[in-house]
Point group: C2
Chain length 360, copies 2
Amino acid sequence: MRPWEANVRTVVPYVPGEQPKQKNIIKLNTNENPYPPTEGVTAALHQMDTDVLRKYPDPTSEVLVSAIADYYHLNNNQVFVGVGSDDVLAMCFLTFFNGTAPVLFPDITYSFYDVWADVFRIPYECQPLNAEFQIRKEDYYKRNGGVIFPNPNAPTGALLPLEDIEDIVAHNQDVIVIVDEAYIDFGGCSALPLIEKYENLLVVQTFSKSRALAGMRIGYAMGSKVLIKYLNDVKYSFNSYTMNQTALIAGVEAIKDDAYFHEITGKIMATREYVKQRLAELGFTFADSKANFLFVTHQDCLARDLFEALKKAKIIVRYFNKPRIDNYLRITIGTDEEMEELIKFLKNYLSAAKGAGASK
Amino acid sequence: MRPWEANVRTVVPYVPGEQPKQKNIIKLNTNENPYPPTEGVTAALHQMDTDVLRKYPDPTSEVLVSAIADYYHLNNNQVFVGVGSDDVLAMCFLTFFNGTAPVLFPDITYSFYDVWADVFRIPYECQPLNAEFQIRKEDYYKRNGGVIFPNPNAPTGALLPLEDIEDIVAHNQDVIVIVDEAYIDFGGCSALPLIEKYENLLVVQTFSKSRALAGMRIGYAMGSKVLIKYLNDVKYSFNSYTMNQTALIAGVEAIKDDAYFHEITGKIMATREYVKQRLAELGFTFADSKANFLFVTHQDCLARDLFEALKKAKIIVRYFNKPRIDNYLRITIGTDEEMEELIKFLKNYLSAAKGAGASK
């Protein structure tokens, strides 16, 4: 070890899903939207006055904050924006989980939570999902330094009903509770109305999934003005200008086009329900996902083998080599055409496997 | 205090320079480039395939990292990119200043350093500039947990010669030394060649000033592959996808157009030298700035009064209400026309002040 390495913060970094560079693949591994962003985004970028790029963006991101606040009938001081919901959540961990009691989150959940806790040296304690991969609300009633969970949960897709969320918040009014709603727009019921009742509740959402803008990096948090103020204070102590000029204008256009938003999320939900039926027919089992992905397992084949076989066929899904979920695959809902390709492959794969098994 | 506030990280946030929304002002307060970015940036954005926005950007930012590495004749694993040099520097503080000995930086310097140290609970000790606002290299030879300083320094504009920088690095081979070169392209000599000799040296630069892209938020660090690896590990533990698709393509175009880069930085340096002459004639004194700003004082008028008078005349400069520098103004170098307006105003203001003084 070099002497200067003594001062280095060493971490086990998060490994994001592959972003393969080759073409002609069916990419179902990072829960992106299969449809392009609204034409308003294209028009705004293609016509933008690029002279503004020489100047710093508005540090308050007012145009985007206002657009989000208007959309959800909030005041501007109830909205915080960041470079994707990962940036927003990292800021939340840094700002709100600064105590000594452990922060609570599920054992099977968004794999960034323990990474943020580790990098910021935050104590935490994972609460196991039950055998059906559901959050047990009672696990979150114990003493803690904060609570965070996704709803729908990732990578399971399982949705917690609003009354259970309120129970968790009601039992935790002395800490900050964060509901990470990255996938809420695909049929879930948001906890947003509860922010008027609970000053300690923060709801985090993103433009990456339902608004087809993963590439622009826009996430946001909504909560009481006192929470948003604390979050902004830390953000301004980290980087004053996080949202670049293009993210600001693209974000505004994306949130303005509500018809398109409903059109594409509606299509994705319809595709998801169709794929559920077909996969069930093929013998796959899965939680009843309300997200834009399914988390599936099959008793006749190993997830890891299937993952590799799919990859060879240029269909990329997500495999997590982790306890309890190492025989599952997370499959993003793509277009109908992409999902038909997937189903066709799975059908052939399973009958070949069965044939091979029978011939043994 | 609400019970949940016990877990909140409270900070005194950095206050960025004003980004006024009204038109027809002369904005000389945040060291932006007065010229637009290269036409290549405009073309890339106006013609971009916006379908890519539905997908996450490449987490390694390879196209941009490669373009920067090629430009400086480095390998890709010697370059780290972030959302402006503020993001890069924040990541550096988090990654490299994780010891118990105090980090050293000048007392008069970029005002974000103590903010980052505070937010990450990093001990630090400021080293006073001498009476001529110069860094004394010997102040950095004591035991410490890391060293950081801008070169040219901000807000003074004073440049430290390369041999003094090497002396500081050579005396500090057991810690990380960061040279923050946000303003190096306006006539300074970069410490970059030293990274081949010192594995513990990191050089940080930005597209915000010399490349006229403050609005895109692109900063970068260059150093040994082991430093870059540590930085990337922490970055991936914070936010995997920091650079959005537009920043990647705009950054590549900006670094490709070297002729335009030299044209605009050359114009700014020429304007700066002219303005130095004119301000000296008017009785202003200042360090010999090698940046795109001047840090000036005048014995006959208070900086604060002048700041307010300029503001009324729609000329915005930067005033810092801080010890030792509260009678100085930092004035960004704008276009020749903008600087003529400034000089005309200052001439009238000073003669009016003199007249008022004489009539007393």
